[in-house]
Symmetry: C2
Subunit: 283 residues, 2 copies
């Protein structure tokens, strides 16, 4: 696996790979790789001759400086995971390589970015869209892989790709969970033991919602109330949002017809966790 | 020359061209082609095996609906010029191909877009940046050619290309002028005979400024005053702006050191004309 820090060098290496007939898969990350990232890299490596993994903790998508500063970093571990899962190139640019002096341009994606995490974290998705656009332009992959855990991120990126006519396929990959169901996240390490054990209420609540739909409940208000009441059993849980939305537009829906996404963000202590599940009605 | 209306078809054709080892040059236009556009197409055709000319009157860059509606259209003439100058592909998408239902994403380039025409035409450069970004993503050219007459447009696009890491070279090509010096523009046909004869004061004033600098004048206030006074001799001329700016940032400079751009926008009747010249001090 080649480790590259400079955009020009990465472009040169990728041009050669493409000349040799290689297709390119891309997994953009903020490092602190876990089994979720590993599954994306593995899938890309299966589908492409060349897989690029990027590690860049993007300052512009953190709305709180403290959150950015304490974001977990573990370069050596990241390198090992990326290599083991079949990455060909690890791209680790410095901040000034990505945001040189005078950088100003930003991308506004519209309504899909304004609800849920977009409402709770002002500017977050503008930062996400900007960095992903830059990275897609640098790597020019055939496919880019993202984890379904960040469902709104995927919706924002798909919208941007469509609106800006980017020549790339965005592949959403299943959420990878801990043994007890908690969605893998780089932020899970911030949970203390009590918080960690209470956090398992999130996947439990999502599964309960799925069961309710299977049993015939359609009204989203009723489903959300049930989810909130379950999560309320945890003393530490502070709900940021529990919403049922259209998975493409991220706008709330009054009832589940066909597919709808149940998404939530809940704080345990200082750690904000997100999770989601697709609710589906088979007619 | 192939005429294409659909994005998917264009992509397919270009993929084949590239497979055959062709490099791609791109000349985006709003149609109403004149000798200025012709010079861009000619240059691209000289430098690339495949030249794409696009014709799309982009509604999102007009800040006045009436200006958009009356923008000159002459498809048959455009086709002939593009073909004669060596274009391989003429891309003429319909509005709903470029802006399908639900389109929302926009690009904000920052300060370079806020002065001069950006101040006079709110939202104009956001529209320009958005459509050029889309077209660059669709065509994926090696080089894209723009006329220096729209100097701020070039500065905005170069800034966007740099900030978003687009893999394309932006080539600025010299202003093409009528026999009497008036810069070629699709809008010149709106001038009546009196306006047309008075409009020649613009290139005259620009050349005078150049002479002043050659003669040792450096202070931009003095140069601008002289230009304004010359243009003031035309009874019909209504000055929108006369500015001397850094050619990359489009911010005003107090004196001419090295290179500076003298740019102006002046109305003759209902028609707004722009023109510019590079002022250069050789030390």
């Amino acid at each position: 696996m080649l480790v590259v820090n400079k955009i020009d060098e990465l472009r040169k290496v990728l041009k050669e790979k493409r000349k040799g007939g290689c297709s390119v898969g891309f997994v953009p990350t903020m490092g602190a790789l876990h089994a979720g990232h590993a599954s994306l890299i593995r899938r890309s490596a299966r589908e492409h001759g060349c897989t690029v993994v990027s590690i860049f903790v993007n300052p512009s998508q953190f709305n709180e400086v403290s959150d950015f500063e304490k974001y977990p970093k573990n370069q050596e571990n990241d390198r090992i995971i990326a290599e083991n899962e079949g990455a060909s190139i690890l791209f680790c640019p410095e901040a000034n390589e990505i945001y040189p002096d005078g950088f100003e341009t930003s991308v506004i994606v519209g309504q899909v970015a304004d609800t849920l995490c977009g409402a709770a974290r002002p500017g977050h998705f503008r930062g996400v869209a900007g960095i992903v656009l830059k990275l897609l332009n640098i790597v020019q992959p055939d496919d880019a892989y993202f984890g379904q855990k960040d469902a709104q991120q995927i919706a924002v990126i798909k919208k941007m790709v469509r609106d800006l006519n980017l020549d790339v396929r965005i592949e959403a990959c299943p959420i990878i969970r801990e043994r007890d169901g908690l969605a893998m996240s780089s932020r899970n390490i911030f949970l203390n033991d009590t918080e960690r054990s209470e956090a398992v209420i999130l996947p439990t609540a999502l599964e309960t919602a799925k069961r309710l739909v299977r049993e015939g409940v359609r009204e989203t208000g009723e489903i959300k109330k049930c989810v909130a009441s379950l999560i309320g059993r945890s003393k530490l849980a502070e709900v940021d949002y529990i919403e049922i939305v259209d998975a493409d537009t991220m706008q709330t829906v009054p009832s589940v017809n066909g597919r709808a996404l149940l998404a939530l963000a809940v704080r345990f202590g200082k750690t904000r966790l997100i999770d989601n599940i697709m609710l589906q009605v088979y007619n």
